[in-house]
């Protein structure tokens, strides 16, 4: 383990399993995500990535195995429960309201009220929300002409950035991203990957699912390979290669995560 990496994982799973009727989606998923790092989860179709990420975000409860947050065992009853504990998921379809402007989207569900009586009556503090939105966009270096723009006028990459900003703006410590660049062009993907690197610098743990090996190797600090519902390996990016990762993904190499806990 290199210097600067926290010894206790922020989020950890041990031997997670999940079955749907006769289908076993996960058999033994062991995984850890550290603060300030990008942990990528890769695997072929049907390897159990989506099921696993739903368990991490609280949308599904595992049948077996354990989840640890800050080293303490946890059980998420709902996505809201996970969110309350600091885990935010950026969904593939982004969950933004296209008709609303950027600031309103950032504050959706947590709108800022005016002070005093007006606030108690439910009046919005649009000025404050705009200001904070501008600040957030500056910090994340998202180029926008105005936070008063409706989201439908923005590009896919900008929308993704706003979804990420919404996840990080509320002091979340773990951000789960499901195929964050799937719908984006090359340039926009690059922008989102930069954004991912930037948010980890502030100590956030990013958990990312991706199909694209070059992208995984560009941003991930740690790569977990799922195959047939099993986490066959978790490796540091610096200590592996694309060839090796693909070999584990396809079953050409066989390993187990327990062997590589170093």
């Amino acid at each position: 383990m290199t210097a600067g990496t926290a010894l206790i994982p922020l989020l950890e799973t041990r031997a997670i399993s999940k079955t749907f009727g006769r289908v076993t989606a996960l058999r033994d998923a062991t995984f850890s995500a550290y603060a300030g790092e990008v942990s990528a989860i890769v695997g072929d179709n049907g390897a159990g990535k989506s099921t696993f990420i739903k368990i991490l975000s609280g949308a599904l409860t595992p049948d077996g195995g354990e989840l640890f947050l800050d080293g303490k065992p946890v059980r998420f009853t709902s996505p809201q429960d996970a969110r309350d504990r600091g885990i935010e998921t950026v969904y593939q379809d982004l969950a933004l309201a296209p008709a609303l402007d950027v600031a309103s989207n950032l504050f959706l569900g947590r709108e800022a009220r005016m002070r005093g009586v007006w606030g108690r009556l439910g009046f919005l503090d649009d000025r404050l929300m705009r200001e904070r939105a501008r600040q957030e966009m500056r910090d994340l270096q998202v180029g926008l002409s105005s936070v008063g723009q409706p989201v439908f006028t923005l590009s896919g990459g900008q929308r993704q950035a706003i979804a990420v900003a919404r996840a990080t703006a509320w002091g979340k410590r773990i951000v789960i991203m499901d195929e964050p660049t799937a719908a984006l062009g090359v340039r926009e993907s690059g922008m989102v990957l930069e954004l991912i690197k930037r948010i980890t610098r502030s100590g956030i743990a990013v958990v990312m699912i991706s199909h694209s090996m070059p992208e995984v190797f560009e941003v991930a600090d740690r790569i977990t390979i799922l195959r047939l519902g099993r986490s066959v390996r978790q490796m540091r990016r610096a200590e592996t290669s694309m060839t090796e990762v693909v070999a584990f993904m396809t079953g050409a190499s066989v390993g187990h995560v327990a062997e590589i806990e170093r």
Binding site: A95, L96, A97, P98, D101, L124, F152, E194
Partner: protein, 352 residues
Amino acid sequence: MSEAAASDPPADVEPARNIFARSTNLYILLVLVALVAFFSIISPNHAFFDRGNFVNIAWDTAEILLLAIGETFVIITAGIDLSVGTVLMLAGVVASWVIAQTGGPPALVASGHFPNAGSALPLGIAAGIGVGAVGGFINGTLVTRLRMPAFIVTLGVFSIANGLGDLLSSGGAAGQSAIPPIPDSFANSLGNGNLVFGLPTLVVVASVVALITHIVLTRTIFGRRTFAVGSNLEGSRLAGVPVNSHVIWVYTFAGFMAGLAGVLDLARFHSTDIQGHSLDNLDAIAAVVIGGTSLFGGTGSILGTVIGAFIPTVLRYGFTIQGISSFWQDVVVGAIIIVAVLFDQIRRRRVT
């Protein structure tokens, strides 16, 4: 990283929230102004351009406007409420029934005397508005908790309210209207009263309601979430907006407005015309759609609805003064609705 993203964002330009709703408002306002100017110029002796005429237009528009304001909120959430017309009628019938029951001894009440009017009137008004709100609450609950299509749910409530209103007002016997009289004080104050600036009370109430709801829609959390729910329901849920209870509130509000309109209608016409209101729902929806609120949800405005409610009335009065059959009003309004929806479709293509 793109160059644009690397530099600081420029100073915020004027907010563009609901820019399309805003530009639609402008177009539809121009249509309204053009119609008024047209009828003013061509009418004999410019009879159209007359305070009395304008007051009558506003008076006739006010009641539909109350329904249309509630409908605007519902349609912004990408819903629809087909029940408002018959809920209005039921609210009026219930209000008059409560007033008659609590107004005094039956014999006196039957001859138009209400010794207890002081308590009977507030009770009747509250009952009418309450019936409307309950109807809306039922709509909202069925739409959200049971995930039923709003179109079907509100069509069902439309029919139920219609039937209940008929039953209550006829005592069960077909065709026998038994709507009791209402106190003159009620009719003279709320119905035909000219409380402020010599304007009919109904017009004043509708103006105040329009102003308040405009502020609610544009300046409050409730308004913002109404747009959010209509723009992306699941997304709003994921973002932590209590989507179900919000939508229930919106339908309850639409029912409340129908109840209020029903009570005011009762005061204005002394009785509730059972058949006269069954198509009010369509007039209300027409006003909302002409006013630029998208049937797909997410955009819309009260200002647009106000303008949209005036256009059919202006056409009717204009045609009447010209001696043109008022049936042409229906034809022209229908064409305007189709054009409004066409615009909505074009905008929609840009929004997604």
